[in-house]
């Protein structure tokens, strides 16, 4: 039961403000903002997401630099409110296409409309983008997505979201395409965040993958979808310690420690053939979250060496080796290493070595970064204790560490009156894994800790099939990845949404469908290319404009 909801800009202006119960005084937004801005309680820099001032509980989440806030006087469930705030942000994004201060300000009436239906008198009514559609009458004013600055990978991690703002399609669920007709599309991404800690000798101390299968659906008529995952997927490693690597004897099976599913997912046949069936609601949502501690090969290895060269000087050598296939390139790489406060050269406590050529690393290659440090005062003995951790963030398209795959996605015809004339296939050809590596070098001979984080995106074709039969012959295709995808044509973030349709390369995982099953719509130009999917002989020629 919440009393007020409001969204504040970074400067503390109200963008929307809705009072549901009138129990909290009117000036709460100012009280809140002042408190958050000057949070110095206990020497902490950051205000916790929940705090209490004079009996009023303030909840907030930060989304794209905006503060989504709820207040209440009642002792409610904190995770309910925080989940709700996050969900409201997502619903708004579904409607506006792009969520930022500009789009919110332009569409605040629409947002009020949504808020009215989402919460009534403090009680949550619905947060389903789908259901809300019938209550919302304002047309979103679309903000030009191209003007958006793609956030750097590091910034994304600071927000802690695993979503890549740039690659997510910036399209509203209610707005029509410029062409006036609605495109039937569905996007499935596998996004993985990896944390690895390893010792200086390269031995892995801890490793974990937190992954999400994210879906964004623009299908009309809510057809049922079947999503097949790896056959050999296992869930739950029993009660053994999750860091017990003896269990993973290289059988090739993907073993998840645990996973959870979106409400709409039905698991009827999951234990038989690892397929999830669901009727995707409109908008963006996570189909499945999973966590894995099975051993895997980290994409990078980082070795750090700190050598003292005299009393006031030291040299840092960071060696990065890319241990993935040479056909893949990692980009937007940033390597950071905090330095002691008394370092005079290499600007202050941070230096960034991701300039020039080193922003891209081709698989299999090795790079060495050297930096000379000068200190203003003599270091107290152990300089290696005071530098680090080394943090590395990067993006690798077409890379997926957990080997979890979406083998196929099948859209079933819902009813006989459904008229699936259009067969559209859209997919995100580019995986944008995001990898942030974190490395803590402590001592030359002692520990070298590294935590690698990364997100990988897996594009999967959404195919609308005119199928009466329930079991289509879907050939197994090896991987959802397109390994030899031409690199330069796909700059990571903003280009994907505008990917010109006729240029869609033949996509390998569209199953061999019987030809007559496709009554092509004459006016759909997009259909010529994806027509009958053949294995691409050369995706290069197909997609290079």
């Amino acid at each position: 039961m919440i009393s007020q909801f409001f969204v504040l800009s970074q400067r503390g202006d109200n963008i929307v403000f809705r009072d549901y119960r009138g129990e909290v005084q009117k000036g709460s937004a100012e009280i809140f903002f002042r408190k958050v801005k000057f949070w110095k309680d206990d020497g902490e820099e950051e205000a916790p997401p929940v705090f209490n001032v004079d009996g009023v509980n303030y909840f907030h989440v930060k989304v794209v630099g905006l503060l989504f806030v709820a207040t209440t006087r009642v002792n409610v469930s904190p995770s309910l409110v925080l989940e709700l705030l996050q969900r409201i942000a997502r619903v708004i994004k579904d409607y506006l296409g792009v969520l930022n201060e500009d789009s919110l300000r332009k569409n605040f009436v629409l947002v009020y409309e949504l808020l009215d239906e989402v919460i009534d008198f403090g009680y949550v009514q619905t947060t389903s983008t789908e259901v809300l559609k019938s209550y919302v009458f304002n047309e979103p004013i679309v903000v030009d997505a191209a003007r958006l600055q793609p956030l750097s990978p590091a910034a994304i991690f600071m927000q802690g979201t695993k979503r890549m703002p740039g690659t997510a399609v910036t399209k509203s669920v209610v707005a029509n395409e410029p062409g006036g007709r609605k495109r039937e599309e569905i996007f499935v991404d596998i996004i993985e965040k990896i944390s690895v800690t390893f010792s200086s000798s390269g031995y892995i101390l801890t490793s974990e993958i937190d992954g999400t299968i994210q879906m964004k659906s623009y299908l009309t008529g809510n057809p049922e979808i079947r999503l097949a995952l790896n056959d050999d997927l296992l869930i739950g490693k029993g009660g053994r310690s999750i860091y017990d690597y003896r269990s993973s004897t290289g059988s090739g099976a993907v073993v998840l420690d645990d996973c959870n599913f979106h409400e709409s997912v039905r698991l009827d046949s999951f234990d038989v053939d690892r397929t999830l069936s669901l009727v995707p609601p409109d908008g963006e949502f996570p189909v499945m979250n999973y966590r894995m501690t099975q051993e895997f090969k980290p994409p990078f290895r980082i070795n750090t060496l700190v050598e003292e060269a005299g009393a006031l000087k030291a040299e840092v050598i960071i060696k990065i080796s890319a241990e993935f296939s040479a056909s893949i390139t990692a980009n937007t790489i940033v390597v950071e290493m905090p330095l002691p406060k008394y370092t005079t050269r290499d600007h202050g406590s941070f230096f960034v070595v991701a300039d020039g050529e080193s922003t891209q690393i081709v698989g299999g290659s090795e790079h060495t970064l050297r930096a000379k440090l000068t200190f203003s005062q003599e270091s107290h003995g152990n300089i290696t204790k005071e530098v680090g951790p080394v943090n590395m963030t990067f993006t690798i398209p077409m890379y997926n560490a957990s080997k979890l795959q979406v083998k196929y996605l099948q859209i079933a015809k819902k009813s006989s009156t459904y008229n699936p004339y259009r067969w559209t296939s859209s997919f995100k050809p580019l995986n944008d894994p995001e990898m942030a590596s974190h490395l803590n070098s402590s001592n030359l001979f002692a520990l070298l800790l590294a935590a690698l984080l990364f997100i990988s995106r897996n594009g999967v074709a959404g195919s609308r099939q005119l199928l009466e039969k329930t079991e289509p012959e879907i050939p197994e295709f090896p991987k959802p990845n397109i390994p030899e995808f031409p690199k330069p044509e796909f700059p990571p973030l903003p280009t994907i949404p505008t990917f010109p349709k006729p240029e869609l390369p033949p996509f390998p995982f569209i199953p061999n469908l019987p030809k007559p099953e496709f009554p092509f719509v004459p006016h759909a130009p997009a259909l010529q290319k994806p027509g009958v999917p053949k294995r691409p002989e050369s995706p290069h020629s197909a997609s290079s404009p």
């Binding site: 403000f17 009117k26 000036g27 009642v74 002792n75 995770s79 009534d120 389903s128 927000q159 959870n260």
Partner: protein, 756 residues
């Protein structure tokens, strides 16, 4: 909505200043009001938008109320909505003008479009004007019977709004029984959920005055209602599921079969992606199994994986909420999580509030097998650029040292900290070494050697300085130049800002004097003189006290100031177990995040429906805590610095007095509230036992009045158990009952079977 007070705020360049614009708007609206020109709606929309944006940024636009109402005669739904929003916001301050809106709202309540009906009804109930309530009853009554479920959901919440505007009107119109009927019969799950919310709120507010209401309140957690809601749980939205689960957590099943049935039914809720649903389910599981120790432990094992997945899957804010709950579980049963310690390692990009929780958990789960790894990891954080976290991790190392038997390695680490020569590291480490020495005097030799080499000039923080001085006094016989260090410190008496340090200095000089009188005599004189001249009352008093003691009898003074000490075996816990139990009872609420029971941070009026029967289950706890509140509160108030304050208690009496003085008002109010709660409970529990069957009859009667609807109460209620369960109920229960922790390998796959 927008606070009118803010209108006086100095306008920023991006904001219009107010007055002029508002009167502009007023005249423009007036022009449009009468016009019927085509395209008029578009210009109205623009104007309305402007009004609402002014309202949002805090400009008072109530002056255009009349014009807005005049413009509201439109069929454009977007315009209508904006108008409703505006009216809802300003009706309260313009009760007379609000009357103008009643007419068109009432008309819209009869519109053929259910959307318009719902909207109008919602706005009508949102006016919050007491003298208009008579206009609400009719439309609400119709709304509750509407064919469209959207209108019904709105109407149910409308009843609650009416109750808050005028409770007697709501009760007189007999709305609560209608809601109850709807709750048990409506096909739309959201209507059911809203009825439940509304009834919880109404009846718990009424319960203090009406016995019937408190009976009704109890009836909500009776078997028929609970089973009815549980059987429909999958129909509800995730938010409504939380509501239902919160209610189920209060239900007390009759026997263990019931418990297992409910757990079977809710098992798959643990796999939900929404953390709130999972936490509510966990609450149910934990509360149901409280009486069955072994199963309770199994529940801990079972919920571990889903919780860890939630922690790593959401935004930092979401994982903070989950982590707080994981934290309380870890604190209750550290041994269960001992093997998962690596999950509590901090990542560099986590916000500090998450790191802090993780550090506490790492401290709690440390045991013989994992201490080395944990301490190694913590030492990595000690050099962290994030200084508060670095401090926190050093403290964590110290806490682990204090709770372990084998501390060799840890002591070495701590001593290494002292050698790192970073101010804050040294400061924290000094405080810890002091505590360590109080518990393990046998380490004094190693520690003193290192401590002796620290220059007192490098230590500035009062706590650290006090710790250093304490050690100088306590171990002056082992430290060659202790008297001389104390001497130089005494010389700088005037420059020492902290009274705490000066107090310690006095005592240390005294102790040193008893051990090495010839070298210290001069310092002692200087210190006592300085102390007597001190402006701080406590310092002055202590100096005077020492002075007189010494005058009286030196050997008595030695017995008083420097008695033979016993090693401290256990440092006082920061929270009493009653407080902890209370927090645990309020699982999945803010109490867990704040680590305080709700009565400490919520006003009585807002305890809310969530708590209404908590006290019933906790009668014994509540009764106990009424007696024990004093010590509990005194300790609670001090929270995390307690370790320090206890350690200094012997010397700084003033500080401890301050603590108890601070908590005294808190105690008064809370004890009073606990007692009043008790009074309520005793009256309700006395009445509810015989009347529970009555409540069910009542429920039955209502169920019969609607023939086609399902009648949950007419047959003995039963749960629709998971039909796909592979094991029969007996085996299921056996599993839950018998599996020892060590067999959980078997146990988890088994659960997977059940789930899929």
């Amino acid at each position: 909505m927008a606070p009118p007070a803010q209108a006086h705020r100095s306008p920023s360049p991006s904001q219009p200043s107010g007055k002029g614009e508002v009167s502009d708007l007023k005249s423009q609206l007036r022009q449009l009001a009468g016009s019927r020109a085509p395209g008029i709606d578009d210009s109205k929309r623009e104007l309305f938008k402007k009004v609402i944006s002014y309202m949002t940024i805090g400009i008072d636009v109530s002056a255009v109320f009349g014009e807005m109402v005049m413009c509201s005669a439109t069929s454009d739904i977007v315009l209508k909505k904006m108008c409703y929003l505006y009216v809802g916001n300003y009706a309260k301050v313009n009760p007379d003008l609000a009357l103008l809106t009643i007419n068109f709202l009432q008309r819209d309540c009869k519109d053929e479009d259910p959307m318009i009906r719902g909207l109008a009804l919602r706005s009508l109930c949102s006016l919050r004007v007491a003298n208009l309530v008579e206009y609400l009853v009719g439309p609400l009554g119709l709304g509750l019977k509407d064919n469209n479920s959207y209108v019904r959901t709105v109407a149910v919440i409308g009843v609650l709004k009416l109750y808050h505007i005028s409770a007697p009107t709501c009760i007189d119109a007999d709305f609560p029984p209608t809601l109850k009927h709807l709750m048990l019969n409506d096909p739309d799950p959201q209507v059911v959920a809203n009825c439940l919310s509304a009834l919880q709120e109404i009846w718990s507010l009424e319960a203090s005055t009406s016995e019937e209401a408190s009976r009704e309140r109890e009836a909500l957690i009776s078997k028929p209602v609970i089973y009815y809601l549980l059987n429909r749980i999958k129909e509800f939205s995730e938010w409504a599921q939380c509501l239902v689960l919160e209610l189920v957590a209060k239900y007390v099943p009759l026997d263990s079969n019931e418990i297992f049935d409910i757990m079977n039914l809710l098992e798959d809720r643990l796999q939900h992606a929404n953390g709130a649903v999972v936490l509510s389910t966990i609450k149910v599981f934990l509360h149901l199994t409280l009486s069955m120790t072994d199963v309770h432990q199994q529940v801990y094992e079972r919920i571990k994986a889903p919780l860890l997945t939630l922690v790593s899957s959401g935004s930092p804010e979401q994982s903070y909420a989950v982590l707080s709950h994981l934290h309380i579980l870890v604190m209750r049963a550290p041994f269960i999580f001992a093997s998962d310690y690596k999950h509590f390692y901090c990542q560099y990009n986590e916000p500090s509030y998450v790191k802090k929780l993780k550090l506490e958990m790492l401290t709690a789960v440390a045991n013989e097998s994992n201490t080395y790894e944990i301490v190694t990891e913590l030492c990595e954080y000690a050099a962290n650029v994030d200084i508060p976290i670095a401090r926190e991790s050093i403290r964590a190392v110290g806490k682990i040292a204090l709770q372990q038997y084998d501390v060799n390695a840890i002591v070495d680490r701590l001593l290494q900290f002292l050698e790192m020569e970073k101010d804050y590291v040294t400061a924290e480490a000094l405080v810890l070494v002091k505590d360590l020495l109080r518990k393990y005097p046998q380490w004094s030799h190693d520690c003193i050697a290192v401590v002796g080499s620290i220059s007192s000039q490098n230590v500035q923080e009062p706590k650290a300085k006090a710790a250093l001085i304490w050690m100088l006094g306590e171990y002056s016989q082992d430290m060659q130049d202790a008297p001389y260090i104390l001497e130089s410190l005494t010389e700088n008496w005037e420059e020492e800002p902290s009274a705490e340090v000066r107090l310690h200095l006095l005592t240390a000089v005294m102790k040193c004097f008893f051990k090495r009188p010839p070298e210290t005599q001069k310092v002692l004189g200087a210190a006592l003189a300085a102390g007597l001249a001190d402006f701080h009352q406590d310092v002055h008093d202590r100096a005077l006290f020492y002075h007189r003691l010494l005058q009286y009898n030196v050997s008595v003074a030695e017995r008083v100031v420097n008695p033979p000490k016993q090693a401290v075996s256990v440092f006082a816990d920061t929270q009493s177990s009653e407080i902890k139990d209370r927090i645990f009872d309020e699982f999945n609420s803010l109490s867990v995040v704040y680590q305080k029971p709700s009565y400490m941070f919520t006003d009585k009026d807002y305890r809310g429906p969530f708590e209404f029967s908590d006290e019933l289950g906790n009668l014994s706890i509540a009764a106990e805590s009424a007696d024990n509140v004093v010590p509990a509160q005194g300790v609670e108030a001090n929270d995390k610095d307690l370790l320090l304050s206890t350690s200094e208690k012997e010397e700084i009496r003033g500080a401890t007095f301050n603590v108890s003085g601070y908590s005294a008002p808190l105690y008064d109010s809370s004890a009073a509230s606990v007692q009043s709660e008790l009074a309520i409970i005793s009256s309700t529990s006395a009445g509810s036992a015989p009347s529970s069957s009555l409540a069910i009859d009542d429920l039955l009667g209502l169920g019969l009045s609607a023939a086609p609807a399902p009648e949950p109460a007419s047959v003995p209620p039963s749960l629709k158990l998971n039909s796909k369960a592979i094991l029969d109920p007996g085996t299921f229960q056996q599993k839950w009952r018998q599996l020892p922790i060590s067999l959980s390998q078997v146990y988890l796959p088994f659960l997977t079977l059940i789930l899929f």
